[in-house]
Symmetry: C2
Subunit: 547 residues, 2 copies
């Protein structure tokens, strides 16, 4: 029995284009004598479609398109995820296409409703297993979270016959290290049900999420027989055979795809894919960003260049009298290294008339934070003006550490459509910069930029360290408070300094309003800001230890 | 049996302050010989606490505070909503405080997970009814949505004894017309269970939501015996008596509170309360906004003045050469009428150096949309600079019609902390302006402002009508498309013009990215932008009729 996992990059809402990709994969599979062709969870409409699911006409279009697709794919049993209206409810479903018709439909039983997932807002849970026969193999169709709770799945599949395969279609968002968890889940599933597991994952960027692909075929022991490409579309083809003990052996028709070797490498690929897809899927051909000569904007520019090509990236440096000659020249050097277009717009001439106009308001002060923020906002205005004029997408360069503590100017450096490294802690920003220089075999990001103490350069002699703790310590506190929801007391008990812990927690809490108006960015950690972490702006709760 | 409904304005996360309010109400109730004292859903922690519920220490603090509160309120049976950690799950619970202890706990059975509600993200559903006896009255404790599905409630309460009262604690967010629905639900509940219904609602603003209070006591017929204040804290006290047929009669100790008479009147009060609470709960003493001399900013200024008082509102007009002398003088006249502080900052001196600096970029054009947006952004910079300098909250003035079609400049007129009339369609903006003039017995908002054709004044002779359909038609289309999730075809079938419908739908879809970065504002319709309507930015689905 020959299987093909069609790891496609679906575009949310573009049913016709997604179906077109599946038709192409079908044509390819047909040539290669495939018996069972599989596409990811909600492959037809993309994941997550969010409130599109509340539109009746959207669900009707899903059903119409799936029927047409079935008619176009008559010669291979094909599994396609789609959004289904059924008996007055909405379901996250897998259609089984056979002989030109929809021969069966499996409806997801375990709905995901945590982290970035809101499936209970939309879907009813299915309650009936679907087992199909393909060339004598009994195959249970499951969707994503169904296999993550193996006890539940055991009960759910209790009355089915002995299976040869559990087929799982997924749209499993990436975070660093997640593939290890997936492999554990798949192994456990194979062991418990004593059968092969075929896991077909989505690939591509969708707003804050990146789906990393890496679809997997595992044998009855739960050993990974083959794996699809990471962060790319793929059609993973393999042959299944049953030995005399009923065990399933799997032979890939090509060797397993190469995989990222380190956490930093996979984060890099996620950022590139997420940026490329956000731009392309939203119709942007050019990327635009401010280059300060600092590490964050340099990293963002390098990722932008990898995403859309140097010819489609424009860097603008916008110095004031507070910028050192070194940072200005480093910004230019970076642009030259990357081969991107580069302009210099000194903002002093805009800053002065603001200052003069605001002087008439009693109490205005051109030495304080308001004046610092004004500089960042003038830069935001320049970038947005160019974006409006030329239709380019402005990328912002704030990292997760800054975003957490609000070390950013709202409508200033947060002004833009996409926040590439929003979920990358500062400590990992450095590692990514080093990684980029390594794969390029030269310091594309100048060493001086990596070595220089971080500074916003909004006043004379300013350094990040004046306002923030050392980034190693800051990132440790943020990991505990933001990603693990620990209290100050728990962090202090773990050995972190009390005064810094309390200070950082207060900064994080106080800056929810800024994050709420910041652009979306790519999730690469288990808990990102955005739909993954939903806190009220109006909120007087304190996780601090105030004793 | 004497009951008191403690309709308090809880602050999310401020457990100590919320418990303090309940202690004060208890002291008041004690003086008035109350037998049963009731507080709203999640009154202890405020509603909705969102991801605070994922923090173990937050749940622990809830439990600790409820135990202390019980000890402080020993003489009256008291019902308090709180967030409870129980057997490894989290529950939306009502504690029954009696004799200084928590004597029983009811756990919400019907979790709300639609519109602005995400309760299934956090809570497990309870499965056990709680019926308490207060002076011989059998009282079933329920929470919010429990009574909205009376068939479910019938099954849930099937094995309980004959009830004399269904007690419902709620945090039911306002939209115009909702109180009518609530009264229907309460009436049906009274009829089905043949008993009185006591409905205690939250009051106050919380980010996008306003809770309108209006707690209700209804007799066995479902007739409203008395009702608490709208949009204010209240302690609604009444006496319950059972007649010889077992029917419950209710006598309020004071006459029912006066209620808003029209939809516009209730919307006005919701906007004032929502603005006041957002400011005060977030620690702002002053409100700041741009005054264009147009109807939207004028209405917003009038609401701001009603919310925090004229002495705490500052209006800034920021004209260019495109502003007519009439709008400039009307802005000043409005400020004078309201009695607020007023400054004029002409922005031409800032605009010119931007233009000059951007000229070096080949293709820059100072006649197009980019140049129009730049003017709005310079105004945003001025307001945000003053906000940063003086700690005042910037209010934005975009209405729902503009917000829907993206007729606004991101980081320009959308720059600010709170979008007061974000959910008010333009047609209702006019009605609110007329209403304000009526209650003030004079044209506080100058008639010229109301009469003048709307214009953004970002280029010579510009009128809204150049870019947008007539607002009557636009609002009809938006109501169908945004609030009712209808397709273009459905709207066209209902008699709306096809070309305009398709054009408007495309504008709405295309501008999701702007709304995502806009400030929160007050929900006053059944479906507001924000947590109420969650669409992907990256989205190629079209609800248009393209044939």
């Amino acid at each position: 029995m020959r299987i093909a996992l069609g790891q496609i990059n679906a575009l949310v809402g573009d049913l016709a284009a997604n179906a077109g990709k599946m038709r192409n994969a079908y044509a390819d599979a047909l040539e290669k004598n495939v018996d069972l062709l599989v596409f990811p969870e909600l492959a037809l409409c993309g994941y997550p479609p969010e409130d599109l699911l509340l539109k009746n006409h959207f669900l009707e279009d899903n059903s119409k398109t799936i029927v047409k697709l079935a008619a176009d794919c008559p010669q291979i049993t094909t599994i396609v995820g789609f959004a289904e209206s059924y008996k007055g409810g909405c379901y996250n479903s897998a259609a089984v296409l056979k002989d030109g018709c929809v021969s069966d439909i499996y409806r997801k039983g375990k709905l995901s409703n945590f982290s970035v997932f809101d499936e209970k807002r939309y879907f009813n849970a299915g309650c009936k297993p679907v087992v199909i026969d393909v060339k004598g193999f009994n195959i249970a169709v499951t969707i994503c979270a169904d296999i993550w709770d193996v006890e539940w799945l055991g009960d759910f599949l209790e009355h089915t016959t002995q299976l040869q395969m559990i087929l799982n279609i997924s749209a499993s968002p990436f975070y660093a290290g997640k593939t290890k968890k997936r492999k554990q889940v798949i192994k456990r599933c194979a062991e418990v049900f004593d059968c092969a597991v075929s896991y077909c994952n989505m690939v591509g960027g969708q707003d804050e999420l990146v789906f990393d692909g890496r679809s997997i075929l595992a044998d009855s022991e739960g050993s990974i027989a083959t794996i699809a490409k990471a962060f790319e579309e793929d059609l993973l083809i393999a042959d299944f055979q049953m030995d005399s003990y009923g065990k399933i052996q799997i032979a890939g028709v090509v060797p397993p795809a190469g995989q990222p070797e380190t956490g930093i490498e996979e984060i890099y690929h996620a950022l590139v894919l997420g940026t490329r897809d956000y731009a392309e899927k939203n119709g942007f051909k050019k990327l635009l960003l401010g280059l300060s000569g600092g590490i964050d904007s340099s990293l963002t520019a390098a990722i932008a260049t990898a995403a859309l090509g140097a010819e489609n990236v424009i860097g603008i440096t916008m110095p004031t009298k507070f910028n050192s000659p070194e940072t200005i020249s480093d910004a230019g050097l970076l642009a030259k290294n990357l081969g991107i277009e580069f302009f210099t717009i000194p903002i002093g001439p805009m800053l002065d008339p603001f200052d003069k106009a605001l002087e008439q308001i009693p109490g205005w002060d051109n030495k304080g934070i308001a004046y610092e923020n004004l500089q960042a906002r003038i830069r935001g205005d320049c970038l947005m003006s160019l974006s409006n004029q030329f239709g380019s997408l402005v990328l912002t360069a704030g990292n997760k550490s800054e975003t957490a503590v609000g070390y950013a100017t709202l409508y200033g450096d947060t002004a833009g459509g996409f926040a590439v490294i929003k979920d990358v802690p500062k400590t990992k920003v450095y590692q990514l910069a080093e990684y980029i220089n390594k794969i390029n075999n030269r310091p594309v990001i100048p060493i001086d930029i990596i070595k220089r103490p971080p500074t916003a350069e909004l006043r004379e002699g300013q350094k990040d360290i004046d306002s923030l703790p050392d980034y190693d310590l800051l990132d440790k506190i943020l990991e505990g408070y933001v990603e693990e929801d620990k209290s100050a007391q728990q962090l202090i008990d773990a050995g972190l300094p009390k005064d810094v812990v309390n200070r950082v927690i207060r900064m994080v809490d106080r800056n929810e309003y800024k994050r709420r108006q910041s652009p979306p960015g790519i999730k690469i950690t288990p808990k990102a800001f955005g739909r993954d972490r939903r806190l009220p702006i109006t909120n007087r709760y304190s996780s601090c230890d105030d004793n």
